[in-house]
């Protein structure tokens, strides 16, 4: 079921036969032979167990890792040809525990990239306010707080706002709701899905939760030990006849409800 990588100007991200191993010449490849294309506006969910290579794929997109073989293209340009700083500033990144800067206020966290990009102060302040409202945090209440004065869900909202600050076309999310309690997690999922539809960003979302994948994705790609083993829309994914798909489907049956 490997999707053939097409080269069209619509593809914001493209993997061409990408291999990655942690050390050169190492036997175990973390990513082997991945080809995929992410068209503009898609929410692609990378699903897989721990160690299947999902996070590695994300880090290959923003140049935190470089492929050992093959190439990764972002906006039609090979990541190795990009200025890495510019590449990363055009890609929002959200991780599990948000990774907020503990010594910065919420407003400073969100406004950091605009500040480094030398925006005017008034423009930064306006952008911060807009973004906090967008992620459902009242700026007057939250802008001056430090990350430690927020709940897990609030921190994650700030993480999303921070990733969106410089209005990047691409958003990478590595289990962003993974550390939240189930109730908050469901709320965040619902809100984020609405937000994603509204913003029309190209999103690559990593999770090991099939339910989350089915809820958020426009397309799901299943990874197993560095290979793409299944790919499909939320409507067709469950019908795919592959042992790993069945294993994930079984995980749904074990946790009924919600």
């Amino acid at each position: 079921m490997n999707p053939k990588a097409r080269t069209t100007s619509e593809n914001l991200i493209e993997f061409r036969d990408v291999f990655f191993s942690a050390h050169r010449g190492a036997t175990g490849e973390i990513i082997s032979g991945v080809s995929l294309a992410v068209p503009h506006g898609e929410t692609l969910v990378l699903l897989g167990r721990s160690g299947s290579g999902k996070t590695t794929l994300l880090k290959l997109i923003n140049g935190m890792l470089a492929p050992t073989r093959g190439e990764v293209l972002v906006q039609q340009r090979c990541t190795t040809d990009w200025n890495l700083i510019q590449l990363r500033r055009s890609i929002g990144y959200v991780i599990q525990d948000a990774g907020l800067f503990p010594h910065f206020t919420v407003a400073e966290n969100v406004g950091l990239i605009p500040m480094l990009e030398k925006w005017e102060n008034a423009r930064i302040a306006a952008r911060v306010e807009e973004l906090l409202q967008l992620v459902g945090l009242d700026p007057t209440e939250f802008a001056k707080r430090l990350p430690r004065e927020l709940s897990g869900g609030q921190r994650q909202r700030v993480g999303v706002a921070r990733a969106l600050a410089a209005n990047p076309p691409i958003l990478l999310m590595d289990e962003p709701f993974g550390a939240l309690d189930p109730v908050t997690r469901t709320e965040m999922k619902r809100e984020f899905s609405a937000l994603a539809r509204r913003l029309r960003k190209t999103i690559v979302f990593v999770t090991h939760d099939l339910r989350e994948a089915l809820y958020l994705a426009s397309r799901i790609i299943l990874l197993e030990s560095g290979h793409i083993v299944a790919s499909g829309s939320p409507q067709t994914f469950m019908q795919i006849d592959h042992p790993e798909v069945r294993a994930f489907a079984a995980s749904l049956a074990v946790h009924p409800g919600a």
Binding site: N62, M64, L84, I85, Q86, L87, R88, R89, I91, Y93, I95, Q96, D97, A98, G99, L100, F101, P102, H103, L112, I113, L116, R148, G159, R162, A163, L172
Partner: protein, 210 residues
């Protein structure tokens, strides 16, 4: 004559020696901080330099302080008898705790924070100065605090090479077997150390970010 009356009678000399002592410590610490903290920042991304710098600082620390003062006397420009040599020796001595704490503080940042910073497109220098350094500040200050307390103690030995300070009383006390003279040096030195500890400890708690 009680120790108390001795102190009162010689309060002028004791105060002058305390001030002189403080001067040695403050100048030496300023030098050690100005060298140690920037050097620590440089070491974060330079493995080779790190091994060498931390190695040299550790070796300096193992030299007995009296010997270090002695070694420096024949060195041109910085050497000789007096305050200058003493200050250089004290600064070298204070370097290790400052350098090591700076380096450890800068490199023990929450990996999630560093990952976000990198992924957001911050340059290494921006990460170093805007993320690592402010988050390491409490740690660096802890190193400065340790170094200050050590320096206040070691500075008493500087009197052996004619640098003055509270050590003058202590050396005279040893020579004359006079506990009054000994205490006239030791008590103010101990008080200085306690005061520095409290003050820097307070600052350190203020700067800690959790």
């Amino acid at each position: 004559m009680s120790i108390w009356t001795f102190f009162v009678q010689h309060r002028g000399e004791i105060l002058a020696a305390t001030f002189e002592h403080l001067q040695l410590v403050v100048i030496a610490m300023a030098m050690a901080i100005l060298i140690g903290v920037p050097l620590g920042l440089l070491l974060v991304h330079r493995k080779f330099l790190r091994t060498i710098a931390l190695g040299i600082a550790s070796i300096l620390q193992t030299i007995p302080s009296l010997a270090l003062f002695g070694f420096l006397i024949p060195v041109p420009f910085i050497g000789g008898i007096g305050k200058r040599t003493a200050i250089v020796a004290l600064a070298l001595y204070a370097l290790l705790p400052i350098l090591r704490n700076t380096y450890v503080g800068l490199t023990s940042i929450d990996p999630a924070v560093l990952e976000s910073a990198e992924a957001m497109g911050m340059t290494n220098t921006q990460i170093l100065l805007r993320v690592r350094f402010p988050l390491a500040l409490a740690f660096i200050l802890a190193g400065i605090r340790t170094a200050t307390i050590i320096t206040i103690g070691v500075a008493t030995i500087a009197a052996a090479i004619g640098a003055g300070g509270l050590g003058t009383f202590i050396f005279r006390g040893v020579a004359l077997v006079s506990d009054k003279l000994l205490l006239a040096g030791a008590i103010p030195a101990a008080l200085l150390a306690i005061l520095a500890d409290l003050l820097l400890g307070f600052l350190e708690r203020r700067l800690r970010v959790t």
